[in-house]
Amino acid sequence: MSLLARGGAVLLLLLLAACGTEYPQNSLSPHSDFAETIHQLYVSIFWWTMFILAVVWIILAWVLVKFRAREGDEKPRQIRGHLGLEIGWTVGPALIVIAIAIPTIQAVFATQRPVSEDAMTIEVTGHRFWWEFHYPEQGITTANELVLPVDRPVNLRLGSPDVIHSFWVPKLGGKRDVNPTVAVREGEDPKYNWLFFTPQETGYFYGQCAEFCGESHAFMSMRVLVETEEDFQAWADRWRESPGALPPAGPEDPEDETELEMAGVPAQADEPDQLEIGDDDPLVAMGRDIFLNQATCLACHAIEGTSAQGDRGPNLTLFGERTTLASGILENNPENLAAWIKDPWAFKPAAAMPGVDYDMQGTAGYWPATALSDEQVRAVAAYLLSLK
């Protein structure tokens, strides 16, 4: 039975080895105040438990070997208990519990302390199966890639229109459920959850929906980009002044609009797209035309500076700057993007976006297939990637 002890040692080594390596969603390498607090607590609990485990395993292994029955053994003495020992192993664990509870309580209140005045509020909405980020101060809405300035406290307001999700970016520390916040009784505010922390290093962090939310729950990931204050401001400015890239390619065809109306999409007020030509790649121009004028995309997606103002899907402004696609599950490149537009369900079953081949009926209503040729899909992809 010393096998037990030996096996334990090997497994312990394995565990330690696993902790040492840097994986993007590793919870043991803190990069925010929040995560740091938790990490210290984790380490102290780790050593307490290892100590207890070692004590129990060593005694167990030793007892099993030492007191195994042998030929000609005497009857063992009847020992019914030992008051001193029993008090000892009641009080000992109780003290350890207290030793763990005190720093835990401190950490609870450190990670849930009231929000500081200068914190930047961001409204996070968990949708099935993507994340929406709205910056009320800046008037920005983006999706799936949260951009944060370093060293500025942020206060995330978490809400959802459908089921429970959970916002989780391990290296920045937070995991908190995103509860449904729809339809509350009159005069009541929805019960938002809040998550408050200060990122302390610039970098690229992985996050994830951590509460089971349906078929594609496993594909509901996200990224957090922590940038310097200047970079963050520059990004915000780019967003606000987003050209929607390229002016309209020629006068809009009124027929297309009626088609759209028939598909249940309200015709958009014609805003002249006031911006200069950034790129006159004909494929991009064609894609833009399709996106804004021919397909149903704009009913769900918004692109700042264009007539696309839908809010059922991710806001695609500056989409070309995104590193990932479809809430962090695909690299953002022309092939993946085209494949996604053609058939989102191939990557994310039950996602609330119709592909080009089939109709979709879901919580967002009825959506006809978009019916685009491969060429057209490539053009739309090129257009979206040009949004920088």
Binding site: F67, Q78, I164, F212, A350
Partner: protein, 585 residues
């Protein structure tokens, strides 16, 4: 029932079946009211569901190790589950949900409560049967249709429930979200019916233990199995109705248009979590307290020594059961709970470590200076102690609210719960089955094969579940259909493949156990009345015991753990053995 009125100088009667009217096949094997037969029926049922739950686990592990690759022989699945043998995400979600549901409600719970409760309570307290034999029969015959209903949900339109075994609302409350309508309703109905089965059992156990103990069987002479089962029955009686209420509310949300848990119409999804876990945490102890009892029994038997700190062991069981009611919030630390409330739950949860530690150290004390015989049941019981402690200690991480922020809903939790339910409950169940098999069937299981099963299970169990701690800390979340979707998890994929192979091996060793179990019924060695040379009352009568168990009501003279008492030739004395002249007290 005055003690003096009872004849105490009786010897082993050879009376199998004597004096009882013959009953037909159906009354003996199907609608039996004999507690031993009902225990065997529960055993058969729950082993079948255990095998089913294991099969579901195999399918999941295949998908996790080899996502997108067709399952060998997967062609038999319809296109709604696994077209071309490739498991669909919605089917995977059903697998996750149903694996948990079958294992917890239809395998481990009936094994511990249904089988050992039925078998041991009358035998160990010296009663002829349960207080309400017909209710007992009803209890089994409610569990069976509940199981079929659960099973049937795989084959209805939309497939089986896919909202997780915890069925969090609103995901579970509106079929719109999962595409599962009827399947979820069958799930709810099935558990509702099963609840009545459990309640009927619990009422019976409580009444029987209180009223039908043999003369001289005082509360503190009871075997710890009986204490554990008695306290468990109280938990069942109090916890199941809460679940039943919640299930009905969810069912009406699904079918009648109520909105208890649907936020869109003003419902409160968090209410489901509170109700579910207010039932769910006591349920955790329903699944572990009987295991504590079984393990105590077998460790003392293996060490040939009285249990160390019997009284403290009883108090610890009661304390754990009590504390179990005030910790449910630890499942909801992430739900946005007020930090003060969270801290309270954190503290009550950690306090459970104290009675748990008392139990572990008392077990070690029992083995200390013993004369340890490594019987197969003993091996399983010792493994229980070594594995349960891992599950208990990983629980401390989760109890610590801030640390839980990281590990909540990751594979760390999956590791923890399998250390408690497999390393804990299931190893205790193996200990119990191998220990009482001779009492149930009159024959011994084959020891060699049993040892092989033990070694294989112990090794591959750890290889399968221990690495999950690491995966969880790396950020691998649970209920994850395809880990390779994430770049960094794809790098860790070798671990998932490794775990899957370990699970394959683990299951292969369970096949050995099943075969041994069945074959030994005919081919096993004759067991005799007391193969383990144990003290409690069931070992004083033939194996299997006849209808009515005891020819005369036994009179109990001592506690259940008088191993190696001085003054006796043997190192055990039956509880009903009259005191001998020479025995020194």
């Amino acid at each position: 029932m005055s003690q003096t009125a009872i004849k105490t100088d009786w010897d082993f009667p050879a009376f199998a079946g004597e004096g009882h009217h013959e009953v037909g096949f159906i009354r003996t094997y199907i609608f039996s009211t004999d507690h031993k037969m009902i225990a065997k029926q529960f055993l058969a049922m729950s082993l079948i569901f255990l095998a089913l739950g294991g099969t579901l686990a195999l399918l999941m592990r295949w998908q996790l190790a080899f996502p997108g690759q067709p399952l060998p022989g997967g062609g038999i699945f319809p296109d709604t589950m696994a077209p071309g043998g490739i498991i669909l995400p919605e089917f995977y979600n059903s697998l996750v949900t149903m694996h948990g549901t079958f294992m917890i409600f239809f395998a481990i719970m009936p094994l511990l409560v249904g089988v050992f409760g039925n078998l041991l309570i009358p035998l160990q307290i010296g009663a002829g049967d349960m207080a309400f034999p017909k209710l007992n029969m009803l209890s089994f015959w409610l569990a069976v249709p509940a199981g079929f209903m659960m099973l049937a949900s795989f084959f209805v339109e939309g497939g089986a429930a896919g909202a997780g075994w915890t069925a969090y609302a609103p995901l579970s409350a509106d079929g719109e979200f999962t595409g599962v309508y009827l399947g979820q309703q069958l799930w709810l109905g099935s558990l509702f019916i099963l609840g009545f089965s459990s309640i009927a059992g619990a009422v019976n156990y409580i009444t029987t233990v209180i009223n039908m103990r043999a003369p001289g069987m005082t509360w503190f002479r009871l075997p710890l199995t009986i204490w554990a089962l008695f306290v468990t029955a109280i938990l069942v009686l109090l916890a199941i109705p809460i679940l039943a209420g919640a299930l009905i509310m969810l069912l009406t949300d699904q079918t009648l248009g109520t909105a208890f848990f649907l936020p869109a119409e003003g419902g409160e999804p968090l209410l489901w979590q509170h109700l579910f876990w207010f039932f769910g945490h006591p349920e955790v102890y329903i699944l572990i307290l009987p295991a504590f009892g079984i393990v105590s029994e077998i460790l003392a038997n293996g060490a040939r020594k009285p249990i160390f700190g019997y009284f403290a062991m009883v108090l610890a069981i009661i304390a754990i059961a009590f504390l179990g009611w005030i910790v449910w919030g630890h499942h909801m630390f992430m739900s946005g709970m007020n930090p003060l409330l969270g801290t309270t739950f954190m503290f009550t949860t950690m306090v459970i470590a104290v009675p748990s530690a008392i139990k572990v150290f008392n077990w070690l004390g029992t083995l200390w200076k013993g004369n340890i015989h490594f019987t197969v049941p003993f091996l399983h019981a010792a493994a229980f102690v070594s594995l349960f402690i891992i599950g208990g200690l990983s629980g401390i991480f989760m109890a610590s609210t801030p640390v839980d922020i990281h590990i909540h809903d990751t594979y760390f939790i999956v590791a923890h719960l399998h250390y408690v339910l497999f390393g804990g409950s299931l190893f205790a169940i193996f200990a119990g089955i191998t220990y009482w098999y001779p009492k149930m069937f009159g024959r011994l299981m084959n020891t060699t094969w049993n040892r092989i099963h033990f070694v294989g299970s112990f090794i591959f169990y750890n290889l399968a579940f221990f690495p999950m701690h690491g995966l969880g800390l790396e950020g691998m979340m649970r209920r994850l259909y395809d880990p390779t979707q994430y770049g960094w998890l794809a790098e860790l994929q070798p671990w998932n493949v490794f775990i899957t192979y370990a699970v394959f091996a683990l299951i292969a060793f369970q096949v050995i156990f099943f075969l041994n179990f069945i074959i030994s019924m005919w081919r096993g060695e004759d067991a005799g009345p007391n193969p383990w040379r144990a003290n409690s009352l069931e070992w004083s009568i033939p194996s299997p015991p006849p209808h009515g168990n005891f020819e005369r009501i036994p009179v109990v003279h001592r506690g259940a753990y008088e191993y190696s008492a001085p003054g006796w030739d043997e190192d055990f004395v039956l509880q009903n053995e009259p005191p001998s002249e020479e025995a020194v007290q």
